[in-house]
């Protein structure tokens, strides 16, 4: 597919493209480049479907922008007739079919005007990317918290992998030892107990012990203060993921240790530790890498309620506020940003996986 599109572009471009792709192919091997191009091409329809779904959700609540405006005006003592309201609808384009409205929404999302432009536009034209509540461009609102959300999510993710993988490898190589049992039990409980339950309990305990609830993120007292305030969120949001990874990596490791090729390697005289690290671990880590998107998704999911309990200034509470105010464009955009981040996570993990696992490059990859 990619070669076809390449051929159809004009010749100069084709040449330079070919050059780039060929040099990439030489560097990484041709299978991997083909695979990555394919995955990136698949990424685009996925994003479109995500946006479609999000728009569908935005449209679900009863009433529309005009009816909420009408209600607002009514509150201010100004009444609009049914006809006037319908004229407004026609002007804003919300009387058009669903699919046209979706197109307008996408157009507004891709085209990003500045805030000052916004106010100007807003008087004559309904913009689909406008937060009613905050009277701002949706992006401006999201940007406020997006950075910190991504930062916290990445820190938690690194924490999860750093803690869980060594435990899982130990657990698998020392199967049925006391350590393995403890890790298994903790892993199971941690994965089974819901995030916000832990959040409640830790919040209560920290308040009991320190007399001051560790609530919110400390952004004023430098890096150390910030990290300190991260401890409970990391534990709360990270636990279920950590335990999940322990469980899956352990099972995967045990699976790989039982494979014939470990026996072959042993028969060659390879050291036991080399067998574990070079062969088993390398193979066992793949499903975990491919689960990166899912982990990211569950991080966002878990952090939403937890953030409310712990009062973290990340995207979760923003989403809740938007939903409670029926500010659907903001809410929809937040959900969409998170979904796109997850999809990007899946894409990245697929690419990393292609480097790690030769079979995926070869088969062209089927997830």
């Amino acid at each position: 597919m990619d070669t076809n599109t390449n051929c159809n572009v004009n010749k100069d471009q084709t040449k330079s493209w070919d050059k780039i792709i060929n040099s990439l192919k030489d560097f990484f091997g041709k299978d991997i480049v083909r695979y990555i191009v394919k995955r990136i091409l698949m990424f685009i329809p996925t994003i479109f479907l995500v946006s479609f779904l999000v728009f569908f959700v935005i449209q679900l609540p009863p009433g529309d922008y005009v009816s909420s405006e009408v209600a607002k005006l009514a509150g201010e003592g100004e009444y609009l007739s049914e006809k006037e309201a319908n004229d407004l609808r026609a002007e804003y384009g919300i009387d058009k079919p669903f699919i046209v409205q979706y197109g307008m929404w996408i157009r507004d999302i891709i085209w990003t005007p500045t805030d000052s432009q916004y106010y100007r536009i807003n008087h004559s034209h309904h913009n689909w990317k406008y937060s009613f509540e905050q009277k701002k461009n949706v992006w401006t609102v999201i940007e406020e918290r997006l950075g910190i959300t991504i930062l916290i999510s990445s820190i938690i993710m690194i924490f999860q992998y750093a803690v869980s993988i060594p435990i899982a490898v130990y657990s698998a190589t020392h199967q049925y030892s006391a350590g393995d049992y403890i890790a298994s039990i903790v892993g199971f409980l941690g994965a089974a107990i819901p995030n916000f339950v832990l959040a409640f309990v830790l919040m209560y305990l920290s308040y009991k012990w320190t007399g001051n609830a560790q609530v919110g993120l400390e952004t004023k007292e430098g890096v150390i203060g910030f990290l300190k305030s991260l401890v409970i969120p990391i534990i709360v949001i990270g636990t279920s993921g950590t335990c999940g990874i322990i469980r899956s990596v352990r099972a995967q490791m045990l699976d790989e240790i039982g494979r014939q090729y470990t026996l072959t390697a042993r028969a060659k005289g390879v050291k036991e530790s080399t067998i574990i690290m070079k062969y088993c671990f390398r193979a066992a880590i793949n499903p975990t890498v491919s689960g990166l998107g899912g982990i990211l998704s569950s991080l966002f999911s878990g952090s939403t309620v937890t953030a409310m309990v712990l009062g973290l200034q990340i995207q979760g509470p923003q989403l809740l506020a938007a939903l409670q105010a029926q500010d659907m464009y903001l809410a929809g955009s937040i959900v969409m940003v998170q979904a796109i981040l997850v999809v990007i996570g899946i894409l990245l993990s697929d690419i990393v996986l292609a480097f790690l696992d030769p079979r995926i490059r070869y088969s062209g990859g089927s997830r």
Binding site: I193, V197, Y207, A213, S297, T304, L323, V342
Partner: protein
Amino acid sequence: MSKKKKTKEDYYLASQWTLMARKLKKHKLAKVSLIILAILYFGALFADFFAPYSISNTSSLYKDTFPSKIHVMHDGEFVGPFVYGLTKTINKKDLKAPIVIEEDTSQYYKIGLFVHGDEYKVLGLFTSDIHFFGLKEGSNGGTSARIYLFGGDVLGHDILSRIIVGGRISLTIPFASAFISFFLGITIGSLSGYFGGVFDMIVQRIIEVIGAIPQIPLWMALSAAIPDGISTVKIYLYITIILSFINWTGMARIVRGKFLSLKNEDYVMAARLAGVSTWKIIWKHLVPGFLSYLIVALTLGIPGSIVGETSMSYLGLGIKDPATSWGVLLQEASDVKVVAAYPFKLIPIIFVAITVLAYNFLGDGLRDAADPYK
């Protein structure tokens, strides 16, 4: 010897389900979980009977009250388990806490089983006022005393009663949504796996996309669509559907995968060559082959829904007062200072945790039992 041989023979001849049940019996945690869940659901079914008070029964005296202390000795005499009532005195000297509520030790109120209390309808059929336990009325005069084992909420309701009644919603919504997703999943998954082609591709993309959107934010966004001021039954229905919205995808993926791999098995080919109809092949030969896996997936999907419902109600997006669910009960615990002052308000969390754990253990046990290679 012959007996041994017979059990061996039974083993070889046993159906998949008998084998699963047998293996599940060996899984102690799963068995305990099953019993716990049975108790919880039984309690929810006869909630009005097990709850000592109706959830509309309040008492201003018992606002935010700590769990009732159960005594056995009154004035140095043994009288069996009883509680004291509360009295309110006004302390004018201490301006910070002018109202003092204390136990009134002058009278005692015995605790009894099957006592008369608030009226309710048993399974919506006939009226009764018998409660599983409560204070024996008139055992020592006066009826203002109450037994609040888990304390009272901010309006003076009995938290225990609300937990039991709330279990009705919190326990059944995930169950109901699991069934909806079960049928959606089987239908869509089998069609997708059977027809393949464009239909399959579209379904696959949709599943992928729904899977990519973080669960709870999506649930929250969907529940914003629940209109205000509708009946509890309708809210219940909406939430059930919202929860199924994500769960069916997992189910459909399993069904589709199994269909794809089983479609080309020799025994299916053999059945086809023998002239068995497609419909019969699907339901007689294919579905039983992976039904056990579906049930495992179903069980393991329920905890997520429980957390989902609880979270949504906790955030005020799901079940709303005066209807009760565990999430609604937790709303009171959202302020850390309130929790520190009245830690018993966290009790509903224990029920959420126990239920979620029980489902997880049960699902784990079922998974082991369903695995023919173990």
